[in-house]
Assembly symmetry: C2
């Protein structure tokens, strides 16, 4: 029986190694999604359709990583049967990977619309988009950093920042409406910009989802707070 | 030791009961989401803002059910430590509940925008929305039915139907653009309708996600097929 502690230690070490691998995969996913978003914004700013096409193509790598995470989670649950904090760790990984996968989709959609946009004359309101992307990208970076450090306070700070992104989005939405009303030729490109801005606003929502998961991971209870209304444009009448 | 089989049977029965409860919760969630979508569409068709307000309010019930599902999944994983098909069942429940929760959000968003829309004069293209909602609602109902019966073939059929919804969405998108170009006063209400149509198109995407989960549940391998491009409007140039 003298080997039992060693074997037990071995199991624990191996479990920790698997969890660390999961965290690495998610960190890699998050970095890729952040890069995709920044490149999509650059593609708009520089009217660079080749760059946009690379972003559309690059989404596959994020999808493949999410597939790896799901596979590893299934394997880890089946073989290790974790409980309590360990179980929350594994399920948070699954959820956070799903959020990052969606963020990648949104970045790819911004890039796809950038290609269509670049076939029209330049539009002044397009200049507001990179800033929106920068704010959303900052939220993503900081919430993933909070996740790596299991820092619920930092996660909550990111969660609160979403209101700034919503304010920027609403301002851009109103700006786009005035451009559309000014000249009917602006309508199609502005419609693309509306959806691009909305995609970035949604990236902020997914960053707040990740923040909620970090909070639950640490505290084993949900982050309950009066949720900001998010997109205020849905109630605009004129 | 004679009690072992009885205890074992008891554990199995109790596990099955917990899984059945999970399935019931998800079925209830799906029914609610389907009703919410139908009511949101009716609120548009009848220009009924009271009904729309009830849909916005009603989303809380779906969110609460998703919370119950997440809680039950965590408990089931910790206490029962399922493997193989049982584990896939539990994780599918978690994912499908998340998809239904999003579908509920989209239905509530359609309702929220219906309230804004009803403050403007009636718009002819609004008449296309209920049909879009009907197609998406049909996909949701059928994929949940496939889920209850663990029927991967039926799930795959629903998955294929998403292309019809995308076609309807693209037609409505184009119709809305022409209305916006015709009269600048149409721009704000048509913008709401653009997002409402997009919300319903996204409900179809979530129904296909559920279909993919049912397929994986049954076959333990992902549904791999050339994915339909979905929203074709992102490449529209004029």
């Amino acid at each position: 029986m003298s080997e039992t502690p060693i074997t037990h230690e071995h199991i624990i070490k191996s479990y920790d190694a698997e969890l660390a691998r999961l965290l690495d995969e998610i960190t890699r996913m998050g970095q890729l999604a952040g890069e995709q978003l920044a490149m999509a914004a650059a593609a708009v700013e520089e009217r660079n359709s080749d760059l946009a096409a690379r972003v559309v193509e690059g989404d596959n790598a994020i999808d493949a990583l999410e597939h790896d995470v799901s596979h590893d989670v299934l394997r880890l649950l089946a073989l290790r049967q974790p409980i309590a904090r360990d179980l929350r760790d594994v399920l948070a990984a699954l959820r956070i990977a799903a959020d990052i996968e969606r963020i990648g989709d949104y970045a790819a959609n911004v890039a796809k619309r950038a290609i269509a946009l670049n076939q029209n004359a330049p539009m002044r309101p397009a200049a507001s988009l990179p800033h929106l992307a920068q704010v959303a990208g900052g939220m993503l970076r900081d919430v993933l950093d909070a996740y790596r450090r299991s820092d619920a306070v930092a996660a909550h700070e990111v969660w609160k920042r979403d209101v700034q992104l919503d304010t920027l989005y609403t301002a851009m939405f109103r700006e786009l409406l005035t451009y559309m009303m000014e000249d009917p030729r602006n309508i199609t490109p502005c419609t693309h910009l509306l959806f691009m801005a909305k995609n970035i606003e949604r990236i902020g929502d997914h960053a707040t989802n990740i923040a909620e998961n970090v909070y639950f991971l640490v505290h084993a209870r949900p982050l309950v707070e009066e949720r900001r209304k998010g997109d205020h444009t849905s109630t605009l009448v004129d």
